[in-house]
Structures are given as structure tokens and as C-alpha cells.
């Protein structure tokens, strides 16, 4: 059993130590690759596709052609200083990234085992004390249900506090499976209105709501997180829905408001993707205060800005 958990394979983009805002205390956050949602404001686009992919930063590129020389698939062509990629041919073998002298090329995503991830997380055990621990994030961690479960189960068995950051969009069986090894669910609520939910995220709201109901009924510790994007999901009606949701689920500890920021935007081009929300600015501090006040006028349930 232990052996199987340790060997469970998964694909991640990064292990981020000394994470401060992904659950209580000091944490190590592992970002799992792959997500069924396509939220327009997604700030981790490298976590969308399930498989590793090549990432290219043109501003670091000197046009030296070392990548073209080593790529077995002919992905790279460097012509007169212009570097073009045929991504459809790429197998993410990593040869170009290894050859690139300026790190303009890198591979987003790597295959690991749950045991390897846990070993790194345990290196920081001294800093977790009673509150900190491991956070499984993504992407959507439940898109790799066996791997997510193995990570959490191993962490739990090692005495670490465990957190999951999830959209809640997964078969109930996957949620139920991690429930006993998860100390805290950080569950995202993307939009109140089902139609807009579908429009902004590409998936239906209903399965998420159903999972939330069932999960809350088990008595699981839950914090609901609300990514708030100016003009998209921060209307008065959205705030009504958010307040109502907290009223409806009294076991949810509190609501955490997540302000839109555009730091994820620059990641898109490197992956050959278009950013869905060009030109949108970070949420202003004044607006954040306004939203918090509006919510607290609607309900006494607690909210904080994360």
C-alpha cells in the first residue's frame, strides 16, 4: 500500500516552497498539471494542458540556433534572428531547453512520483509547526485523482497538515476519495449565475454545487474562495450570490476573496496561447474595500481578502 502510494505517478509544473497564502502557516504547494476548466482569468495557464509542453520566452532568445540543432522533431527554426516554433510537432523531450544557453526555452511540466514530491515537502517540516504543511494545487488536482490522493495520503501519514485547492469540478468519487486525507478544502467559486459560469469557465456549475453540498454534509473543513474579476463576476448580483452561498453553508469557515491580477498574462505567450482578458487591470484597492463592505452588508458571515 505504502509502496503504491509512493510510486503513484503524476505530472506537475512546480513545487513552491515557503508558500504563504495557500492555507494556514508556512506551506509547500505542489501545482498539478491539467485542468478541465478554461477560466478566462486563469493565472496558471501552464497548468491547463495535462502533458508537459515547451515554453519559449522570445526576449531571452539570442537567435543562436542551438535549439534547432538538437531538436529531433524539427520544432524550431531560426531564420535571420527570427525564431519560429511548430508546437504541434513537439514531444516536450527537453533537448532544446537543455541546449538553450539563455534559458529562453524551458519545459513546463515534469513527471514525478508522489513519493518524490513528499520527500521535498518534508525537507521543510521544521517550518510547518502545527499549522503549515502541504497544499495540493494546480491546475485542477482532482484531474489526477490517484496522484492527488497519493500526495495527500502520504503527507497525512507523515503527520503534515494537508490542503487542497480545487475548483470542485470532478466526479464525486474523486472528492470522496481525498476527503479523509484532506484537512482543509480551499474550494473556488467562479461565478454565481450558471450561464455565466459556463461562459467564463467552459464548464457547468451544477456538478460543483452538488460536490460542495455533499462535501459540506460530511463536515469537511472548507474555505470558499471567490476569484473576483472586475466587470466579470463582481456585479451586485454576484455579491448577492456569494453572500447567499455563505449563509447556505454555515460549516464553511469563511469566504476568501481573491482579487484579479494580471501577473499570469505574460505566461500565455510563452506557451503559444492568447490571453483571454487583454487590457484588464488589477483590481484597485478602493474597489476591494467596496466589495468587502458590500458583502458584509449582506451577511454577517466572515470574508477576508486573500
Amino acid at each position: 500500500m505504502e509502496r503504491t502510494l509512493n510510486d503513484t505517478p503524476g505530472v506537475i509544473t512546480d513545487i513552491q516552497r515557503f508558500s504563504l497564502y495557500d492555507g494556514p502557516g508556512i506551506r509547500t504547494t505542489v501545482f498539478l498539471k491539467g485542468c478541465p476548466l478554461r477560466c478566462q482569468w486563469c493565472h496558471n495557464p501552464e497548468c491547463l494542458a495535462p502533458q508537459p509542453q515547451v515554453r519559449y520566452q522570445p526576449r531571452r532568445c539570442t537567435g543562436c540556433g542551438a535549439c534547432a540543432a538538437v531538436c529531433p522533431q524539427g520544432v524550431h527554426t531560426v531564420d535571420g534572428g527570427t525564431h519560429a516554433l511548430r508546437r504541434e510537432r513537439c514531444t516536450a523531450c527537453g533537448a532544446c531547453a537543455a541546449a538553450c544557453p539563455t534559458q529562453a526555452l524551458s519545459i513546463a511540466g515534469r513527471s514525478v512520483t508522489a513519493g518524490e514530491v513528499l520527500a521535498e515537502a518534508l525537507r521543510d517540516r521544521a517550518y510547518y509547526e502545527k499549522t503549515g504543511g502541504l497544499t495540493v494545487s494546480g491546475g485542477e488536482p482532482l484531474a489526477q485523482p490517484a496522484f492527488a490522493h497519493a500526495l495527500l495520503a502520504l503527507a497525512k501519514a507523515s503527520g503534515l497538515h494537508t490542503c487542497v485547492e480545487t475548483s470542485g469540478y470532478a466526479p464525486w468519487a474523486s472528492v470522496e476519495r481525498i476527503r479523509p486525507v484532506t484537512d482543509l478544502f480551499l474550494l473556488d467559486w467562479k461565478a454565481g449565475d450558471p450561464a455565466r459560469h459556463l461562459a467564463y469557465t467552459g464548464v457547468a456549475q451544477q456538478p460543483i454545487l452538488a460536490n460542495l453540498e455533499r462535501l459540506a454534509a460530511t463536515g469537511a473543513a472548507i474555505i470558499l474562495r471567490f476569484p473576483l474579476v472586475p466587470g466579470l463576476n463582481d456585479t451586485a448580483a454576484d455579491l448577492d450570490a456569494i453572500a447567499a452561498l455563505l449563509e447556505r453553508f454555515p460549516t464553511v469557515d469563511h469566504g476568501e476573496l481573491m482579487a484579479y491580477h494580471k501577473m499570469g498574462a505574460a505566461k500565455y505567450a510563452g506557451l503559444g496561447l492568447d490571453y483571454p482578458l487583454p487590457g484588464l487591470d488589477d483590481m484597485a484597492e478602493a474597489r476591494k474595500a467596496e466589495i468587502l463592505a458590500a458583502l458584509q452588508a449582506r451577511t454577517k458571515r466572515p470574508f477576508i481578502w486573500g
Binding site: 497548468c47 534559458q103 521543510d124 510547518y128 494545487s137 481573491m258 499570469g264
Partner: protein, 749 residues
């Protein structure tokens, strides 16, 4: 302080006369007569807002004088009977060329060039020392090792001073003197105690005259000051203020720049005055703030240590009261001195750590934290003393441990590990001035394995450590013949009983330390050489040497590979174990010199100051990708920006260094103001975890506006920045440059 047109050489002349008249007298008498030429003449005036009398002696501006350490412009300038050629030259230029004074000044110059302590010491250097340590100027010349000339880092026994006071010391010296004084040592001490009394009275008189013209509230302060000075001139101190006054003045007179376990020696005075209503809490704080401001004005550059907390205090409760007051004073004064040092231990009053974190979180940098749980057993081992003696360890200056008022640990030498690597790579040559240097141990291309090369590097290091130890012993022994250092000896345990000076067998633990720089650049260079030259063979040995010689011009691809090689500071076991091996090897070979050259201890220190920058200016490009003549990493911290796995990973790398064989390795931790503001409990968990993991010290800097501006200007040097937003995955290093700017602006660093 003085301009060339008005150089008054009266003191130099009197001092020279006193020295020459006593040239063949016992060293103690000669020193005492010379001191009489300086005190109280060199006492600087009490200034407008001074709460206590005593400022830096006007010594360092003189052409000659007597001081344990004249440090100017951040560089050591002499010790004992020091001589400053530059001041004499200025004096010469200021007198008419045909005047009689010219001859007089020239005569003095010729005399002191020969008789200053440093020169006297150097005449005894062996040919081997002269060959391998040809230069004294670590800031101004190429070299692997450099001797230093300074008797610094003394910690006096202030408890003795405050318990006995002037009359008690006078009586004690007289009693010993009555039993015989063949070498004039006690007579010297007697004259020194008399000088202490004279200086108290001189300052009392000065306070009286200042009071005449002062405003009403200042008049009261000056009257109090004068009364306290007169009191301590004739009896042991009875109040907190008197205790502060006497201990502070003594430090100034003695030229001692580190102030000891102040919470222990002042704690009882403070508690008693507060209990008896002699002082209110506000007045006590005002007194400590006043003392701190005098320390600021003294600008010792690398000293000003005040130690609080820790195990081994006889009066922990009273001492803690002072410790809390001291931290509050540091919060208010917010300056680079005093270097407030908090020794933390299991079972410490939790209020102290709470206060410390609050003060640090405001950006005070102080207190610096020392982990007694690890340091006490480590000191016992490194210094070969009992655990009880080790409880009295105190870091001086930049961080060298010694045993409080029982041990002495300078002048120190300097070793540049990265320069040693350079001369090993280039087979006995250095590449900045292209001169022969060090041992020629073989052509780099001829090494068959990394291990073989690493072994050669260790041989090179061993050679320099041996020569530096020999120089150190020679400096201590010859300086001891020159002078007993009466001020320091008077309050050092053992000197009075044994009738011997500080360096001449008077104290229990006469040792020294060797300051090691360039350690981490060397580790990263070795790791890169191992991986790229020997394992992956991506860079041929000749090509590496050519790249280093060319400072990477035309070798940009090689430099990129070297920079991308694994680096220390990322909790990467392969590099960190190399760091551990090199560190412990060096610590042990240094420690092993003590018995060979006859010192109680000779220990490695890795400390913070500017030497990493100065030495870097004379060190060629290195295999970690560092450009020629640029600064080297400070202490045992990662090379700037190379720690990219977050603070915990960096701390794990730091904690890798075993503490048992050295006298202190400084560990710097930079944290964002945001962390303290938003999540102080996480900052605390970080430090607790670090100490639990093996961290021995934490110098915590809270990043301020200045750091942010620096990072905005050069993000490539700040790639260890943390981007921490809920659910957001980003490594600063992998972001596009414009986004790096945006992240900096947003996350407030």
C-alpha cells in the same frame, strides 16, 4: 576633525617624549607614561544632547598614540603604539619649510616608522611569512592571505568594574603591588586607575562649566552628570545612571568597542532603581536611548556589540528587564550601532522573542539572534572549554565568538578562498596582475578527476592556513613584548592575579580567528567545475581557463553554462554537501593550527563586513560565472539571487554547516516587510524552524524601499525574489523581464 592648516602636534611631542624617556623601562611603565600624555588631554568635549560623558577619543586623528585598534575609513590602521604617516605628512606640509619644526617632525617620523608596534612585529616575520603574505593591504593588492594588525574585540569584565569601582580597583592593585612588582605591571595599572579617576573628575568639571550657559532642563541633566561622575570617581556606582556612566567611560578610555553582557551587569542596577523609585521606566529608557546615541556617534564601524539574553546569567529576571529596554531603545534609535545581540535559548522569557520580532519587523535589523541551544555546546567543543565557560560566549565585532572577559581573539588574518582556487586552477599564478602566487601544484588539464583537483585545492588552502597561523602567533607574541595593554588587562580576568598583561599569559584563553571570505563562490565554482568539466565534459579544462582569463568575453556560452550549474542555497544535497565538506575541512585545519603554533585556539570565522567586496576587486573571474573584480557573496549566504527555491530551502542550505569547529558563521536572512506586516506568526515559525534545523544565528533584514528600487533597476540580480500570491505559481527567474518589473512593483518585494 583637523584641517591641515591647524595641526597641533603638542600631544604627539609629549607622547614621543614619554616613550623615548622610557624606552628601556619595563613595558608597563612605558605604556602608563605614554597614556598620561594622552589622557585626559584627548577627552572629547561633552556635546549638546549627551546623556553621559564620554565619546570616541580623538586618538585616531593623531599622528601617533596608543590604541588597541585604530580603524579608519573601514580599514585597520594600526595597533598599540600606532603611527600614521599621512597625518605627519600633512603636518609637514603645514609648517614653513625652513622652520625648526620641520627637522623635529622629520625626526619623530624616522623614530616612529621604526618603533610603531606593527613595524616592530613585522621585523620578526619569517621568510616564509614574507613570501606568502607579501601584502598587508587586503583592500589594495592581490593575495590569498593577509595578516591584520589590531588588538580588537576585547570584552572587559564590567561586573568587576561596577562592583569594585575606582576605590576597590585602587585597593586591589595596591595589595598586589605590595607583594612585589618586578616588571612594573602593577605600577602601570595603578597609574591607569588614577587616570580613570582623573578623567571622571575632568568630565565633572566640564559638565559644571557647560551647565553655566545651558538651558534650565539641560542644567539639571548636566548637574546630574557632574554629580554621577564625582560619585564614581570616589566610590563604586550606586545607581543605574552611575553604572552606565562608569562602564561607558571606561570603554571609551580603553578603546574597547564591544560592550559585553550589558543586561547582566546593568540589570540589577536597573531593577533596584525602578523598585526604589530612583528612576521611572521612561527615565530608564531615556538613559538607554542616550547611551545608544553615544554608541552611534562613536561609529566603531564593525563593533558596538551589546549582548543580551542567553544562558549563564546569574540574574536572568533583572537582566531580562534590561534586555526589553535595550530592544525598545534600538527600535527608537534605529541605527547601525549598537549591534544588539540577543542570545535565545529554550525556556527564554517569551516576551523577549516577541519584542525581538516586533523590532526586527520594523526594519531595525536588530537584535541579531544567536541560538544558544546549538552555540553553547559548539563553543565548548571549538574552544576546548567546559560547558559552563562556553555559556559565557559573546560574539564581537562582525561575529567572532570569544569567552567573555576571559578570552581574546584578534588580530585575525584574512583568507580568500576564491583566490586560492584561482591560483590552484592556474598552477601557482594569479590572473589579475598575472603574478606568481601560492603553490604550483599542477596544470589544471592534467588532473584526472575532480577529486584529484579538489585535493590539490585543499593542499593550497592548508598551506595558506599554516602560514597565516604562524603570522598570527608572531603578531601576538611580539605585540605582547611591546605593551601589556593596561586598560584592557585591568579588567580582564586573570591579569591582576598573574601579574601579566592580556597577551603575555595574563588571561585563560588567548586565541585568534581567521576570517574566511569567498567560501560560497568557491563552493559554486567547484560544483560547476565538477559537473561541467569533469562529469559532463561540456567545457574542456583549457577552455575554462581561457574563459576565466578573458573574463568571459567571447565565452558567453560557457558563462551561461557555468551560471546555470547547480548552486548552493537551494537545498540541493549535492552542492550543499560540497559546501559542508569544504567548510568543515577548512574549519578543522584552522583549528588544528592552535597546538602547532601555541595558541589556546585558532578558529575559522565567516563574517559580514566589506572584505568580500574589497577582496573581490582583486580576484579574477570565477567558475561560478562571477565576473572578474566583482564582489563575492557575503558570509555563508548564497551568491546574490542564486537561491531560487524560497527562503526555507535557503535556510536549509545554511543550516547544513556544522558549528562544532569554528568561532562563528554569520547567517543572513532577508525577509519582506509584507511578511512581518501580514503574517508575523509565519516569520516567527520560519526562525523557530531554522533554529530547530541547525541554524546557529540569524541576522534578519527586512527589505525596505531601497531594496525594491535596487531590484527594479537590476532584476537579474534579484532572481531569488519570492512571488507569493494565493494559488499563483511563478518563479521570478522564469518571468519575462517586463513582468518581473510588474511583480516587483506589485508584491512590494
Amino acid at each position: 576633525m583637523q584641517n591641515s592648516s591647524a595641526i597641533d602636534f603638542t600631544i604627539e611631542k609629549a607622547f614621543t617624549r614619554a616613550f623615548q624617556e622610557n624606552l628601556s623601562a619595563p613595558a608597563a611603565l612605558r605604556e602608563a607614561r605614554c597614556l598620561q600624555a594622552l589622557y585626559p588631554a584627548l577627552l572629547p568635549p561633552i556635546e549638546k544632547d549627551d546623556r553621559f560623558a564620554g565619546r570616541t577619543l580623538l586618538m585616531e586623528y593623531r599622528g601617533v598614540g596608543f590604541s588597541p585598534d585604530v580603524t579608519l575609513y573601514s580599514l585597520p590602521h594600526g595597533m598599540g603604539y600606532f603611527y600614521r604617516e599621512d597625518v605627519f605628512q600633512r603636518a609637514l606640509a603645514a609648517v614653513p619649510p625652513d622652520s625648526a619644526e620641520v627637522a623635529e617632525i622629520r625626526e619623530m617620523m624616522a623614530f616612529w616608522r621604526e618603533h610603531n608596534t606593527t613595524a616592530q612585529v613585522k621585523t620578526h616575520f619569517s621568510p616564509r611569512i614574507r613570501k606568502y603574505l607579501p601584502s598587508d593591504s587586503f583592500a589594495g593588492d592581490v593575495g590569498v592571505g593577509f595578516p591584520l594588525y589590531r588588538m580588537t574585540g576585547a570584552y572587559e569584565n564590567y561586573e568587576t568594574l561596577l562592583t569594585l569601582g575606582v576605590p576597590g580597583l585602587t585597593a586591589l592593585v595596591a595589595k598586589k603591588q605590595a607583594q612585589g612588582d618586578p616588571e612594573g605591571f602593577y605600577e602601570g595599572l595603578r597609574l591607569t586607575v588614577a587616570l580613570l579617576r582623573d578623567c571622571c573628575l575632568a568630565y565633572a568639571g566640564q559638565a559644571d562649566s557647560l551647565a553655566e550657559a545651558a538651558s534650565v532642563p539641560r542644567q539639571a541633566e548636566l548637574a546630574q552628570m557632574a554629580a554621577d561622575l564625582r560619585a564614581v570617581a570616589s566610590q563604586p556606582p550606586h545607581t543605574f545612571r552611575q553604572a552606565v556612566q562608569l562602564s561607558w567611560l571606561y570603554s571609551c578610555l580603553a578603546g574597547v568597542m564591544d560592550y559585553g553582557r550589558m543586561d547582566v551587569y546593568l540589570g540589577d542596577f536597573l531593577a533596584r532603581d525602578l523598585a526604589e523609585g530612583v528612576l521611572t521606566k521612561a527615565e530608564a529608557l531615556d538613559a538607554v536611548v542616550g547611551l545608544w546615541r553615544l554608541m552611534v556617534a562613536r561609529r566603531t564601524v564593525y563593533h558596538g556589540r551589546v549582548v543580551i539574553g542567553g544562558v549563564g546569567r546569574r540574574n536572568a529576571e533583572n537582566a531580562d528587564r534590561f534586555a526589553l529596554l535595550a530592544m525598545e531603545a534600538s527600535r527608537i534609535v534605529h541605527d547601525i550601532e549598537p549591534q544588539l545581540t540577543l542570545r535565545v535559548y529554550t525556556g527564554m522569557n517569551p516576551l523577549l522573542m516577541e519584542k525581538a520580532m516586533a523590532v526586527i519587523g520594523e526594519g531595525a535589523t536588530y537584535p541579531m539572534l544567536y541560538n544558544d541551544d546549538l552555540n553553547v555546546p559548539a563553543v565548548a567543543n571549538a574552544f576546548r572549554v567546559s560547558p559552563a565557560a562556553a555559556e559565557q560566549y559573546v560574539p564581537f565585532g562582525c561575529g567572532e565568538y570569544i569567552i567573555d572577559h576571559k578570552g581574546f581573539g584578534s588580530p585575525n588574518g584574512v583568507i580568500n578562498l576564491l583566490k586560492a582556487l584561482e591560483v590552484t586552477l592556474f598552477n601557482g599564478r594569479e590572473i589579475v596582475k598575472n603574478e606568481p602566487m601560492g603553490l604550483a601544484l599542477g596544470e589544471f588539464a592534467a588532473y584526472e578527476s575532480f577529486d584529484a583537483f579538489y585535493l590539490a585545492y585543499k593542499r593550497q588552502l592548508t598551506h595558506y592556513v599554516e602560514v597565516l597561523a604562524e603570522a598570527e602567533q608572531m603578531i601576538l607574541a611580539r605585540t605582547a613584548e611591546q605593551a601589556p595593554f593596561l586598560w584592557m588587562s585591568l579588567l580582564y580576568d586573570g591579569c591582576l592575579e598573574r601579574g601579566r598583561g592580556l597577551l603575555a599569559g595574563g588571561i585563560d584563553y588567548l586565541g585568534a580567528t581567521l576570517e574566511s571570505y569567498g567560501n560560497i563562490n568557491s563552493v559554486d565554482s567547484l560544483a560547476a567545475i565538477r559537473e561541467l568539466v569533469f562529469e559532463q565534459k561540456k567545457i574542456a579544462p583549457e577552455r575554462l581557463l581561457a574563459a576565466l582569463r578573458a573574463n568571459f568575453v567571447g565565452y558567453e556560452a560557457e558563462r551561461a553554462l557555468l551560471l546555470a550549474a547547480p548552486k548552493y542555497g537551494n537545498d540541493d544535497p549535492r552542492v550543499d554537501s560540497l559546501a559542508r565538506d569544504l567548510h568543515d575541512f577548512e574549519a578543522r585545519i584552522i583549528r588544528d593550527q592552535a597546538d602547532r603554533v601555541g595558541l589556546h585556539s585558532f578558529l575559522m570565522v565567516v563574517i559580514n563586513n566589506s572584505a568580500n567586496t574589497y577582496l573581490g576587486r582583486w580576484t579574477g573571474a570565477s567558475a561560478d560565472g562571477r565576473a572578474a573584480l566583482s564582489f563575492m557573496a557575503n558570509a555563508n549566504n548564497p551568491v546574490g539571487g542564486m537561491d531560487q527555491n524560497g527562503v526555507t530551502a535557503m535556510l536549509n542550505s545554511l543550516a547544513h554547516f556544522p558549528p562544532e569547529h569554528h568561532a562563528g558563521v554569520v547567517q543572513n536572512v532577508k525577509l519582506s516587510r509584507d511578511l512581518f506586516a501580514k503574517a508575523p506568526e509565519k516569520a516567527r515559525a520560519l526562525i523557530d524552524g531554522f533554529f530547530k534545523n541547525g541554524g546557529t544565528q540569524a541576522m534578519m533584514t527586512v527589505l525596505g524601499r531601497h531594496d525594491l528600487e535596487e531590484a527594479l533597476a537590476a532584476p537579474e540580480e534579484h532572481q531569488n525574489l519570492l512571488v507569493r500570491v494565493g494559488g499563483f505559481s511563478a518563479r521570478f527567474v522564469s518571468l519575462e523581464p517586463d513582468v518581473q518589473q510588474e511583480v516587483l512593483a506589485r508584491t512590494q518585494y
